[in-house]
């Protein structure tokens, strides 16, 4: 094998079925995940063309975007939502696609259940009609979000057609300081690059910081790759990766494992490989992060002040419009601002480690009376672990309730909408205007920052509360 390829090149090149001169590559897709919102029109397209699904064993369906997070055992009230869920079930059944609908024990957010059941594997190409498909890059897969036309393409032909993106490597070494989580690392990177800084690139994350992260931490980082415009992000698989996937339902076993391992062991960037762009940051400089504006690039260390419009890279008028929406001012600190809602969950931070982190900080404290907190596990498997590990008891004692799995208030497609004007600290991925409900104002942060806000009722540096615990 030639010794100058990046991890990304190795996986991409080995999946090219056909190259078109002055055009895109035809890329074979190993795993395809679908959900209720972006798939119905794709199935309709197949029907209109009079064709079927080429490889139904490579597509997996789960309901997550538009599902209620309470009383899931009851019929879905909203008729449009109920119809969308019914369509997914019918389409999956008609085409023989594995379907984990509402109430199914394996149900959950598509990017949480994929890794949980071993659908996500190193060196695979994985797509889904959802931009946070980049999550699966944590395993050394090429994973990215696609539109509905491409969902139809994959169902019909197991391929998509895209030009090969450029390559970027982001290196972060050093050690993370106390209270700094993978979410903070990602929000830090996005704040440095802006929301369009990696557009046109596929990112590889390298360095001690990512090596030392758990698989769940790596998923959080890769999940947010799209928020700086990147097509996707990936981390080279290592022992931690192989250990994580071993023994899961869809992970290969026996001779198939050995065959896959022969491939997986080649998945790293060669020493002399060249990237189109390379960036390096010092991990020890990162502090707990929060966002203050209406895109994920508008983030800063929690102890800092909101930058002045004159000091920003983009247009001042768009920047000011954004702060106006948030009702914040240039140059002010966010610390101590009264918050109304806390949302713990989503494909970014809805895994067991996120619930452990949140619980560690609220333990022995009480939820602030005026705060409404929505704690939404990413899947039934996460929900079960929260109960088994005794986290639910601690959360209940502290005045919190647990909801049922789903995307929930991250995109507010179901009933979980933050009311207009209310300020929420959310562990999700987007603080766009109205993202969490019309008029809702969102601060993105880690589960620790969310927990600190939930118990104090205001924007609080979690390190202060962690010190208190240490003193006890």
């Amino acid at each position: 094998m030639s010794a100058n390829k990046t991890l990304f090149d190795k996986v991409w090149d080995s999946h090219v079925v056909h190259k078109i001169e002055n055009g895109p590559d035809v890329l074979f897709i190993d795993r395809h995940m679908i959900h209720e919102v972006t798939s119905p029109v794709a199935f309709l397209g197949l029907k209109n063309r009079g064709i079927g699904v080429l490889y139904n064993n490579r597509t997996f369906a789960t309901a997550d975007h538009n599902t209620p997070t309470i009383n899931q055992h009851l019929p879905v009230e909203d008729p449009l939502s109920a119809n969308q869920l019914k369509m997914l079930e019918e389409n999956a059944n008609e085409h023989g696609i594995s379907y984990w609908g509402l109430g199914h024990e394996k149900n959950g957010i598509v990017h949480v259940v994929g890794p949980e059941y071993g659908i996500t594997q190193p060196g695979a190409t994985i797509v889904c009609g959802d931009s946070h498909t980049s999550t699966h890059g944590a395993f050394g897969a090429i994973a990215f979000g696609i539109g509905t036309s491409e969902v139809e393409m994959v169902l019909a032909t197991q391929c998509i057609m895209q030009p090969k993106p450029k390559r970027m490597r982001i290196n972060i070494n050093g050690e993370l300081s106390k209270g700094v989580t993978p979410k903070d690392v990602a929000l830090f990177i996005i704040s440095q690059l802006t929301t369009s800084g990696a557009t046109g690139y596929f990112v590889e994350y390298a360095g001690d910081i990512f090596r030392n992260m758990s698989m769940e931490g790596r998923m959080t980082v890769c999940n947010l790759s799209i928020e700086m415009g990147a097509r996707g992000g990936m981390i080279a698989p290592d022992e931690k990766t192989f250990e994580y996937i071993k023994g899961r339902e869809f992970t290969p076993t026996g001779a198939d494992w050995d065959k896959a391992m022969t491939y997986w062991e080649t998945l790293y960037t060669d020493a002399d490989a060249i990237f189109d762009k390379e960036l390096t940051f010092d991990g020890s400089q990162i502090e707990p992060m929060i966002t203050y504006g209406t895109n994920p690039g508008m983030g800063m260390g929690i102890s800092k002040e909101i930058p002045m419009a004159t000091a920003t890279q983009g247009g001042a008028s768009s920047y000011k419009k954004s702060l106006e929406y948030m009702k914040f001012n240039e140059g002010e600190s966010m610390m101590g601002k009264t918050i109304d809602y806390v949302f713990l969950g989503s494909c970014t931070n809805g895994r067991i480690e996120d619930f452990r982190a949140f619980t560690s900080l609220v333990k022995g404290r009480k939820k602030a009376d005026h705060v409404t907190a929505w704690l939404v596990p990413g899947s039934h498997k996460v929900e079960a672990a929260i109960k088994e590990e005794g986290l639910l008891d601690i959360l209940t004692e502290a005045g919190f309730e647990l909801r049922e799995p789903g995307c929930s208030a991250c995109l507010a497609m179901n009933e979980d909408k933050i009311p207009a004007g209310k300020l929420a600290v959310s562990t999700s991925n987007r603080n766009f205007e109205g993202r969490q409900g019309p008029g809702a104002r969102t601060i993105l942060a880690s589960p620790l920052v969310a927990a600190a806000a939930a118990v104090t009722g205001k924007v609080t540096d979690p390190r202060e509360l962690m010190e208190e615990v240490a003193l006890h």
């Binding site: 078109i20 895109p24 063309r49 009609g129 768009s318």
Partner: protein, 198 residues
């Protein structure tokens, strides 16, 4: 499946000089519950276009009869965020056939190309010239020529070329789509699939 063919489009344009317009603004999630590709244009820019009581916001450009046309001109980093193709559908369904910006988010650009809406990326300077020209005269016409890969301000004759790969250009000019192409190489795909390790 065929969509509209795109050749030369001459039209007035609707200006939206805001940066980082994300797909949640283009079409909010609560309007993604349909199971058919119908009616999304009604909710294009819903929360910028209407108050919460559904009355139109008078100062939003789509509610201003001064501006109309088949070309939408947006600020830098247009279409960021969610992969929802519904955003491109809403743009199309409202009546736009071309979106002009100095920078597009990846997935939105792909989605547009896949449904026959032409994304035209111009320089920041030229984008500003377009905004200025429309501000000076809302009836200013733009000519977008796909065969020539040029966009021209007809009032001044100023023109700039834009990039599109030859394959997609051919698709758009003829109304072909990727599935037509892929079904023709199905045998190659099946051979490939039989030999893949995963």
């Amino acid at each position: 499946m065929a969509y509209d063919k795109f050749n030369i489009l001459t039209s007035t344009a609707v200006p939206l000089p805001i940066e980082n317009v994300d797909t949640d603004q283009i079409i909010p999630a609560r309007f993604l519950k349909a199971t058919e590709r119908k009616g999304f244009g009604d909710n294009l820019f819903r929360d910028w276009r209407y108050n919460q009581d559904d009355s139109p916001k008078k100062d939003f450009v789509l509610n201003d009869p001064t501006y109309s046309g088949k070309i939408l001109v947006g600020g830098k980093n247009f279409g960021s965020g969610s992969s929802r193709e519904h955003a491109a559908w809403a743009v199309y369904d409202y009546g736009f056939r071309c979106v002009v910006s100095s920078f597009f988010a990846d997935i939105f650009r792909n989605n547009c190309l896949n449904i026959g809406v032409l994304p035209v990326q111009v320089s920041a300077d030229f984008l500003q010239k377009i905004f200025d020209a429309i501000e000076a005269d809302p009836k200013t016409e733009l000519e977008v020529s796909l065969p020539e890969q040029t966009i021209t301000l007809l009032s001044s004759g100023e023109s700039e070329s834009f990039e599109i790969n030859g394959y997609k250009k051919n698709n758009m000019m003829n109304g072909f789509d990727d599935i037509d192409f892929l079904l023709n190489i199905k045998k190659d795909i099946q051979t490939f699939a039989a030999n893949t390790p995963l």
